[in-house]
Point group: C2
Chain length 840, copies 2
């Protein structure tokens, strides 16, 4: 198959290409849910969906604070021992975005307004959402409006918004009602279509909370400032929100204020004169806590606002720009000569840092702070998909995310007890550290999260050389997760004389959620092996280099040399299933004995499968939601030869639906590595446009953070060919044929390395940092980059496979009449093609 | 191991032995929940728990009507496609049992009353519960009280109770308040201990309904009659209850009546004189419906009561006795020389017929009408455990139960669609025909229920020769279930040259609920094969003998000769897993690769396992809740040799916890067959006393109907050695050494055959019926019993194995240090011994 032009899925008459911004130049209310998500602003702590200033014409209002959640009792229709008991759902916080406008007492309502001009821009450099429009009011007056909204990166608890009104051709009374509105989570429902649980359902949506969630505790108003304080009904978390209001105008005006339990209003009534520009600025602060009383949080809000007043809004905007300049300097990925891709990549990276930057003391939710999808929970997404980006570009943010897991360690120990194991078992999904997954087959059974966390932790330590974190906290995570593996599995002698005594792990679910509760899942076993080895290696390193810390660790964890030896033995005996006949790694012990799913004859309206087939039906077939073995080939790539990777990829790729957005990025990386250049690029595109083109029809519930993180990996590890095995950084690029170059920076041991990939060469520049040189491996050859000058290394051509894999006669699958299954299954379209059809 | 005396677990100072009654001669409130269940009276439609007449001192009030249920929306904490949506819970009907007594205005309250004499008797012959006591009132007067309660077998909608009061030594005002009280199911909670879901849980208990369940629709009172009518809030079922009250006395009295929405009172105020006996009689009728308005049901109650008035209470009691005389004549099992066993066996059979007799148009709930455990649902228990008893002693009741499944066929077809299959899939648990199991792994995944129903249906048809039922209704069930199997599984060529093309069934759960969602479960495959063969055989028979019916069937079911051929091919290719190395049948494709559960080191306070271990932990081990392969060895016994049965039993018996009451009876039958005489007897005892000695600590929630039915099979098939393979009745008895004889009747093709088993011989007597002779097989030899005279056949001694099986080195299970698991596992106690310790 030759490379085809992959078309741009975006309507450029509405969203023109801009390499540094997402721009919308035509108002369209038909996809409000999508655009509210795409235009979100957030900083990893506070997130504001792109709802219009007016507070009307919304699909879903959203003001989310990372980790600010309500709890509720899970009522299992049939309960069993150890099932998760407490549900956790992110709370929609009081909405401080609202600035309603009235001209001649007529409200501006975009869906019906006569808009003479309209433009909305989310600038990736400024970190500001700007809306500019000209409204022809019902009485025929023209008003020019410009509003800005940002959530501060440097000031975690701060948001700023302003509104400029210019009457172009007449005088008119102007009213701007600045509000903080607590809509109550229970009533703040999604669009009917998705909320209608009666006719359909989607387990990926948030649970609906019933009754009053936020109990008002405190309210105050004065000197242009409004303050509201709340406590969450059951979780007892606390929140305060405060806003300072100011006006710049030469017109006469008066101010009316009102503060009640669920609303604080600051209403400017202006005698608007033609040609005058009036600007109203609202500076908002949110503080939340698990324990601090609301009144204390109110004080914190005051202090944040007082400090913000010092330089005023201009200083806040300037600081935002400076912060982002620094971010882009250490994180920007440049694709030469591909402006549409460049824009999409930067939007992805921008949303990624909006989800992760200030997530301090919390995880990074699956939807960031852009929606309530997945209840605001933290999954393995953070470690497997997002952490690499942070580790190699913003290591201090990676450290924060890993420290959050460390703070959850005691809860994970407790959870291990609940499921009758030693060590620690991290919850599959959680906000507060407790397991919130009510469906264990695709939840608690995904024990691999322990190994995923350990993998990210080891990678962070190797890339940052943050030995202090390792010795004081990280090592505890590595050891307790290693303990779980050693306890979870068991020894069994294989049949036959003189056979090996192997260690098996049964009854677990791997990453592929279309296969559940299996024995010896390859991904799990390979990752558990790495987990055990990492614990042993780190302990040995400590023993050799930091005897005091080592002694403290042994005491703290009641650890003995014997147990460390056991970790080693278990690791080296861990069973890695391999099928000699097919020459591939089975996804699990029984995977190859299953019936093949007949994907070519599965109609499009039955996709994704999870919404149309009972789990039992899906589970009993060879069909994948997402990369599983293929993910192992990536994460533990030094454990597999290129030929093995190729064989495995050829087998699994045609069986992979990609119904999860976690899939395409991984398929892209391995497709690139094994030589399917065209396929790698196609998978890259399906990942790149997941949110921007709403490929999974649920971006209205928030961005797909894991896919965003995976996209960076598809660029750096896939096309850039970068790998990090135990702190050895290697590069074997696979630059797409139609790209001129790909450039990205990496932060390695505190040094900034910029990598430029071209077809014939790769160039390394050591820009900042204390290292005088860094060792790297390029296509198997060790090279050294120094601070003196850029290092240019010529590249050998990468392997190139023609076409793409298809279902073959690989499992002896025959029909009842004796015909081979494969005979009726031509090279069939995977989800990729279904999605590509959307791209056209 | 030599046979030991198995001790009687019953406190005979309180419950003396009586071969025809359960008697209690000392009041003891410490186990109210248990005795309320044990003294229940019911007729398969209406059931009254053994609550005291006074309506106080209750553990759980209970008035249950088979199939009378409320529905509720199942809220899955994480939903998925095809999960059950509507929960169903039996409703606690308005309580008409209450007859409160006051002497000198002092209420009789058993728990504090000064009882001079006390006796409660449930007569198996009379079908009446009688309570007699002498109460010394607080003022020192002695009153003799006698009350009776019965639910009529011949009159399905009728119950009668009376109360006799005799003042022995003084005059006193006597008040008897006869009440019908609607407590509202929601408030009618279980004892705190079990209702406290906060600290513990037990999935075997009923769901708690919230809010008002019964909406009052109608009330009326007059002429000594009270009537109440209700509609169930969500299910819209309707109920009417009516009571006639009468008094026989020579004392003066007056009557006050009161009727409100939730109570109807008929209060007798008597000027009691010493020596006079006053009798108050209450005749009660219940009618329920899915569609008929309450007022129509009120009319039906009136008609039932009017008819009951004709002969009065004496006639009702007499009819009950006559009905039961007939029942015992066709059903009694006599164990010569074992009065304690005899009593327990008769109590079991009596409760069994109380659960099944008038279950017309409904199934037989897991707890009969004696409690709300398992929500009043119907399971495979009916077909696998209860039906054989009915088929061979009361075939018309068996027909009713099977016709109920036929009426559910359309819902089962619909359910098959919901789980993406052809044919029909019966719900794992249901009242109204819809799947109510919210936990698919031990619910919907138990597809074997289809084969269980077909098995019972085929057996009924063979034993009754009810070809009419087969041709008009039964065949539809056989074909639609066969269709499910042909669609559910798939063809796969085994590895290796010239290997067979076999049919596999993946992703199902067998009877053993400690192993879930497996491939090629032996029980399922063997039973599915029988199901497919039964469909083909029945179709072929129809084609040969009833061409018209056959043609109608083909049309009705859109059935073709090709599809029938496919059923045959699938049946004969169905994979039956067998392990050559161990010489046993694996429970499923992967069972033998699992880790052994360390039962000897599982402390007693961790039993049953399901209440102390997460399902994932249980599932990944070799440990059984109940007989699985062993059940297949019984139900499809002609498919396995005696040596195979012995090898399989030896393997599985030590791994079987018996945490389900469905287990012991089956283990007993196969233990007897393979030669473990002592073990067979011990298992029989654990089944015999399940309820009477409350061995599973939950008889308070109702009797274990499946165990009751299984017990009959343990007697007839286990010790009597009777089997029925395709209508060939064979006998190979295993009479316990300390039993003199075992006698039981069987109804075969409408003829009554009485079988008397002694150690040296077996005697058959053809008592009634039209057949002049019946062919039978005794220890492999065909004999003919005729109406002329009893047939005596001498018996060869049965096989006898010493001791009992224990865990051996059967799976190569080795510890990490290389030691074999078995080395640390001596012949270990199964649940049997834990339970036996309770028996001592």
């Amino acid at each position: 198959m030759t490379s085809e032009v992959i078309s741009d899925p975006i309507d450029r008459t509405r969203f023109p290409i801009d390499p540094w911004a997402l721009r919308e130049i035509r108002y369209d209310p038909s996809d409000l849910g999508l655009t509210e998500t795409l235009f979100s602003v957030a900083n990893g702590y506070l997130g504001l969906r792109g709802n219009v200033e007016e507070g009307r014409d919304s699909y879903a209002h959203g003001t989310f604070i990372n980790g600010f959640h309500e709890i509720w009792r899970i009522h299992h229709a049939e309960d069993a021992y150890g099932f998760a008991k407490i549900g956790q759902t992110i709370v929609n916080a009081p909405d401080a975005k609202i600035m309603r406008l009235y001209i001649d007492d007529e409200p501006l309502l975009l869906s019906v307004a006569d808009l003479q001009r309209y433009e909305r821009t989310l600038s990736f450099r400024d970190g500001v959402l700007v809306r500019e429009l000209v409204w022809r009011t019902p009485s025929g007056k023209h008003v020019q409006l410009r509003s800005r909204r940002m959530v501060s990166m440097p000031e975690r608890h701060l948001a700023v918004m302003d509104y400029e009104i210019t009457l172009l051709d007449a005088n008119a009374p102007v009213v701007v009602s600045c509000e903080i509105l607590n809509r109550q989570d229970g009533q703040d429902e999604f669009h009917e279509e998705s909320a209608a649980m009666g006719t359909g359902f989607d387990p990926r949506r948030a649970a609906q909370l019933a009754g009053r969630v936020l109990e008002p505790v405190s309210k105050w108003e004065g000197d242009g400032r409004s303050v509201l304080g709340y406590r969450v009904a059951a979780s007892r978390m606390t929140l305060a929100v405060a806003a300072d209001h100011s006006i710049q105008t030469t017109d006469e005006y008066e101010v009316r204020t009102q503060v009640e339990d669920d609303v604080a209003k600051h209403v400017f009534r202006i005698q608007g004169t033609m040609g005058t520009t009036t600007r109203i600025t609202k500076v908002v602060s949110y503080h939340t806590s698990r324990v601090v009383p609301p009144l204390e949080l109110v004080d914190r809000c005051r202090r944040t606002l007082d400090r913000a007043k010092e330089g005023g809004a201009p200083a806040i905007f300037a600081a935002q720009r400076a912060w982002l300049d620094d971010f882009w300097e250490r994180s920007d990925v440049v694709i030469e000569g591909q402006p549409a891709l460049q824009q999409a990549v930067r939007w992805n990276l921008f949303q990624l840092i909006q989800a992760a930057a200030r997530a301090e003391g919390t995880g990074i939710p699956a939807k960031g702070m852009t929606g309530s999808g997945y209840d605001g929970h933290y999954f393995w997404d953070t470690e497997t998909y997002v952490l690499p980006f942070l580790t190699y570009t913003s290591p201090s943010f990676a450290r924060n995310a890993l420290r959050f897991r460390y703070t959850m360690l005691e809860a994970a120990r407790q959870r291990a007890r609940e499921v009758n194991q030693r060590g620690a078992l991290y919850p599959w999904r959680t906000i507060n550290g407790e397991e919130a997954s009510a469906y264990y087959a695709a939840g608690t059974a995904q024990y691999h999260i322990d190994a995923d966390i350990s993998h990210a932790l080891s990678q962070y330590v190797a890339a940052s050389e943050d030995r202090d974190f390792l010795a004081r906290e990280g090592i505890d995570v590595l050891v307790e997760t290693a303990r779980l593996w050693a306890d979870l599995g068991f020894w069994r002698k294989t049949d036959g004389e003189g056979s090996a005594n192997l260690f098996h792990i049964h009854g677990v679910t791997g990453p592929d959620e279309y296969t559940a509760v299996v024995n010896d899942n390859l991904f799990t076993n390979v990752m558990a092996r790495a987990n055990l080895r990492a614990a042993v290696r780190s302990l040995r390193w400590l023993a050799d280099h930091d005897a005091d810390s080592y002694a403290r660790v042994l005491t703290r964890l009641s650890l003995t040399e014997e147990e460390i030896e056991e970790f080693s033995r278990v690791a080296e005996a861990l069973h890695v299933p391999y099928d000699e006949g097919l020459g591939i790694h089975p996804q699990d012990a029984d995977f190859l004995s299953k019936e093949l799913w007949d994907l070519p004859n599965t109609p499009p309206d039955k996709r994704p499968l999870l919404l149309h087939y009972h789990p039992l039906v899906i589970y009993r077939h060879q069909v994948l939601k997402q990369a599983d073995v293929v993910l192992a080939l990536y994460l533990q790539g030094d454990e597999f030869s290129l030929d093995q990777k190729r064989a495995d990829f050829d087998y699994y790729d045609p069986l992979t639906t990609g119904d999860s957005t976690l899939s395409a990025v991984v398929q892209s990386i391995i497709a690139a590595e094994v030589g399917y250049a065209d396929l790698a690029e196609r998978y890259f595109h399906t990942a790149l446009w997941v949110d921007l083109a709403d490929l999974h029809h649920n971006t209205d519930a928030g961005v797909h953070v894991a896919s965003l993180g995976g996209l960076w990996q598809a660029l750096v590890a896939g096309f850039g060919g970068m790998r990090d095995y135990l702190g050895v950084w290697s590069f074997d690029p696979r630059l797409p044929a139609d790209w001129t170059s790909l450039t990205f920076p990496l932060t390695l041991r505190g040094n900034r390395l910029r990598v430029k990939v071209e077809h014939e060469q790769i160039t390394f520049t050591l820009e900042t940092g204390t290292a005088t040189s860094l060792p790297l491996v390029v296509q198997g050859r060790t090279v050294e980059v120094t601070q003196l000058c850029p290092l240019v290394v010529p590249l050998a051509p990468p392997p190139l496979l023609q076409g793409r894999p298809s279902v073959r006669d690989i499992v002896g699958a025959v029909r009842e009449d004796g015909s081979v299954m494969q005979a009726t299954v031509p090279a069939h379209p995977t989800t990729l093609e279904a999605e590509e059809s959307l791209l056209s």
